[in-house]
Structure formats: C-alpha cells, structure tokens
Symmetry: C2
Subunit: 315 residues, 2 copies
C-alpha cells in the first residue's frame, strides 16, 4: 500500500509544481481535521481583537526571541514552491540539538526528507523539506554493542525520556526556523493510518526507535489571517497546587471558546452548524469517536511493545 518512491530524485521538490504533490486546499482541510497542530499568527491583528486576544498587554522586557516566539504560527500545508536553502536547514539542525537532554544521550534521530511524495506518505503533507523526529536509542545501542554491552532500554520510562529529549529538540527547530523566516507545520499525522509505513518507507530500526512527529519546513504562500488564541490563566496555570475548576470557571472557559475574536477554536461556523457552543461542536463533531474509553489496543501501543518500549506486563 505504501511504496517508497526510490526512483524519484529527492531534489525534485525544488522544481516541483505546487500541485499535485502539495496538498490542495480541499485535501489539506481533510488532513487538517486529522493531524495539524494548530499554531497562531500575529499578523493582521487589529487593536481591538488584540485586546480581546491577549488579555493584559505584554509586561516585562521585549526582545527579539520573545517576538519570534509570539510570531509562531502553523502553515497548514500551503507552502510555496520555493526550496529551503541548505544553509537554513543546516542552521536549524545545528541549533535544535542545543536543547537539553537527559544524560546528554541525544536519544533521538532526525530524518531529513526532501521527496514530496514520500512526505505525503509519511504525514499527509508536503513542502520543501520534512524532518521526521524519532525517539531513538539505536546509536547508543550500537555503541554499547561495540563495547560488549547489551543495552536494551526496555521500559515506558525509556520511551518517555527519549520522547522528552526529542520534543525539546523539535520545538527548538521550530523557533530557529521562525527566526530565519522559515514557516513550519508540526503534524502528528505520522500517527494516523498505518503507523508501520514509517518503518517501511524509511528503513527505521525494528526496535528502540519510534517516530513521534513531523516538521515540514518552507515558505507559506500567504500569511494567516489571524493569530490563534490560547487559554492562559485558570485551567492552564496553577499556583502552588493543582486548582480543580469550579462550575463557574468551566462556564467561563466555555465562553472564552465561544468568543470568536479569541480564535481559540478550529472553526468559527460551529453555530451555523447548529451547535450552541464551540466546545459542543468540538466534542461531538471533532473528537466524537473518542468519547468512549479505549477498550481495544491501539496500533501505537502494539508498535510500542514491538519496539521494546513497553515492559513486560504483570502476569
């Protein structure tokens, strides 16, 4: 079902037409429903909506890094047909590994993919360049084996540690890219469909390597119309101990989602679709299939076990 397009020049993306390799608006909406991580955009932010969006005006010193962070936004697949300069890619890669990591063991791998057909198979999107970030102990395993040790990181703790190390690198890459004017799309589309395709397409090691997230890098063909909002206070930040929400606070959060100028939601037409609240749409139409507790083993859990990342179960 998934074929590796070995015969395709990885560099063809540079001269590739925007379609059909890059998703059309229609198809990307399909993928968006499934897998895009929603970002925000600072652009076209009218003073009125800014006040509504951001709560109190930013306090404390402003600097270029903070401005870069507040300019983060997700490009939903609408990348221009403009290559990512090799220098920019290398700058991003060199920066991202500076993230801290447990024991400095760098338990991750970054697969750089330039073949747009392969990108679409991997995550449903394509652009000038894709970075697939994997939790990965195989470099360490090979070093241990060379020294005569049988290193088998075999528990969920190892998986969580490697995932932490990996994701810190991922976000550093996103911020480094933004600072260079490079747009990005983070997508967990890697976990949709048959996850096993990653092993087949990329020849991933059978154990102790697990694909976590894809980052597509490039240049957007248009600027986003608004910045996606974020909840910032109650329900997100807890002071000294966990604060369990009161009924009134839950109602207030619901109101915040319903305030279209906050741009907290994935759409703004939930009301015309017949829903009383955005979150009503969200829980019924968006995550409706997940409303029941998981009673069957997911493919991810099966593959985590096969990858050696879940320890033996008690008998």
């Amino acid at each position: 079902m998934h074929h590796t397009p070995k015969d395709q020049d990885p560099e063809t993306v540079k001269n590739h037409p925007p379609s059909p390799a890059y998703p059309t608006r229609t198809s990307r909406r399909g993928f968006l429903r499934q897998s895009a991580l929603a970002g925000g955009a600072l652009l076209f932010l009218a003073p009125r909506s800014r006040a509504a969006d951001a709560g109190p005006a930013p306090a404390g010193p402003e600097n270029e890094t903070l401005k870069t962070i507040h300019r983060l936004h997700t490009t939903h697949g609408n990348f221009r047909d403009q290559p990512l300069p090799e220098d920019a890619l290398r700058t991003i890669l060199r920066a991202c590994v500076r993230a801290a990591g447990a024991s400095n063991n760098q338990s991750y791998s970054i697969v750089v993919v330039r073949d747009p057909a392969r990108m679409k198979q991997l995550c449903g999107y394509a652009g000038p360049c894709l970075l697939l970030f994997c939790a990965d102990y195989n470099r360490m395993k090979a070093s241990a084996a060379a020294l005569g040790y049988d290193y088998q990181p075999g528990t969920v703790v190892d998986f969580v540690n490697a995932s932490i190390n990996t994701l810190l690198v991922v976000q550093t890459a996103v911020i480094a890219a933004r600072s260079l004017g490079v747009d990005s799309l983070l997508t967990n589309g890697v976990h949709r469909g048959d996850i096993e395709r990653h092993w087949k397409l990329l020849d991933l090691p059978a154990t102790h390597c697990f694909p976590l997230i894809a980052l597509v890098l490039g240049y957007a063909d248009r600027e986003p119309p608004h910045r996606t909002g974020r909840l910032e206070g109650v329900g997100i930040v807890h002071e000294e101990r966990y604060h369990h929400l009161t009924r009134e606070e839950v109602a207030d959060i619901m109101r915040q989602y319903d305030d279209k100028e906050r741009h907290l939601g994935l759409n703004t037409d939930w009301d015309t679709q017949g829903y009383a609240h955005y979150l009503d749409w969200y829980f019924k139409a968006w995550v409706g299939r997940n409303l029941k507790p998981g009673t069957q083993e997911t493919q991810m859990l099966r593959l985590l076990k096969r990858s050696g990342f879940i320890e033996a179960q008690p008998g």
Copy 2:
C-alpha cells in the same frame, strides 16, 4: 512520607537563604547523577575547542533568537538567592503557550511552585521558581462533562499527543527564559523515587493528568566553564532514509565522546577511573542497572494505567 507544607508561605523563597533549602554542591551532584538534563554553555569557549566542538562554522544568517538558542545551558541547581521577578515569570508563561498543539486543545497544565521545600520533594532541586508541566486533559474533561459528554481520553495515543503538546510548551519556556537572562534547569527527577508523591503534594487529578518534567527557573551563582557538546552529523541526522551505522561510524562516535574537548560526556575523569572509553564508563557505571531489558512493570507504567493513559490489553 511526603507532606505538603501547607503552612509555609509560597512567597518565602524570595527571602530564603541559599541553604539548606537549595541543594549544596555535594547533594546536587547526587541528583545530577540521577536526573538533570544536560545542557550546554557557550561561555569560555576557546577558539580551538570551538572548532573541535561545532564542526564547520555556523553558516547562514545569525540572529538574536539563534544566539539565544546557542546560549542555552543547564544550571545544575546552583541558583542564587535572587527571586524571579513576577514580570519575567508572566512573560515566560505568556510566551510558552504560543507553542503549536494538536487541535489547539492545550492538553497540559503548568503548576507554578515557589515553596523550595516542595520543589525539592517534587524533583530534588530547588530555586526561586519551579514549573511542573503535566500532560492533562482535565480541563477538557470538565468542559465536556458540563455539556453532557463523557470525554475519556483513554489510550496511549492520547498520552503521546498530550506529551507532545506539553513538551513543545516546555522548550518554548526554556528559550523565553534564556532570552530574559533567566537560567533554568530541566529535570526528569520528577520520575525518580515514588512518582505518586506528585499527586499527594499537588492534589493532581486522579486520571488523565501525568507529570512529565520540571523546569526550575532562577539565576545561576556562576557561569558554566564550557559548553556541553552535541553530536550533530551521522547517527543524529539521516538523509532521506534511516542510515544504519557502520562499524567504523560507531568507532568514530566513540572517539568523539572520548575527545574531552568536545564535552559530550557527563564527566572527564572516566579514564582515571579505569575506563578505556567514556561510553564504557557511561554504559557500565552510569546506566549499568538498565542493561537488561525491562521484565518488571515500572511504577510509571502502573501509574499511566491508573491514570487512564494505557488502553485495555488484549486478553
């Protein structure tokens, strides 16, 4: 065993003496062995070691954000007795939530802890301020319940998605802090010892909330003597497909770790301790206890199950 110091003013850290609440150098070395995420420091970087460290000189445009990223380094508990200004904390919190997240559902919570005794109980370190980052669906669950939905994110996929969302926020906080001159310590010490203490100390929700990592913020009492190195090429970055290391490449990686000027390791006295290679020390003395595959259920897996983050196993 773990008591919540309810009677202690959360603000006392501001006037708190550096010890005994903050770890001494001796005690922090103990914790460092266990739980600190190794960062790097750009300071005191001699030209010779820079060439050795970084490979080719940085290419492409330099900017303040990239400089901030390359200045990232971990403070191993040696925080000065200087409070974190409230403005800086709020700026960091406002910035970090700008990270992208799946469906913009913000499936995380950030517990701000200022009581140094509690910090030490949580992660083994203390400083002016600690942020505990948890994967957390409880805000969404409460909203769903208010609308009559029974939202139970019950699979490992939900845990991984929330972990991704959370860690992207974490690293954004680290970089925002660095840009403000705020030093930081990321530690997975939260997963050492009895992990259940977090629920007791912080009143975390019984299900669908899991502590992932702690970030201690403050000001270091000294600058680090060198920048921790990183592997950057073969074994980390793979081109188009996964590259399985050759024997010679493994030997080269071993040599890179043995080159003390690269600062890839956690120590530089492995040879005087009688080890032929740094990685020999690493696998034997550091991760020796993990050299066997996990055959027993870890507390983390048990608590992930209890938290509703592992779906039912096939019978």
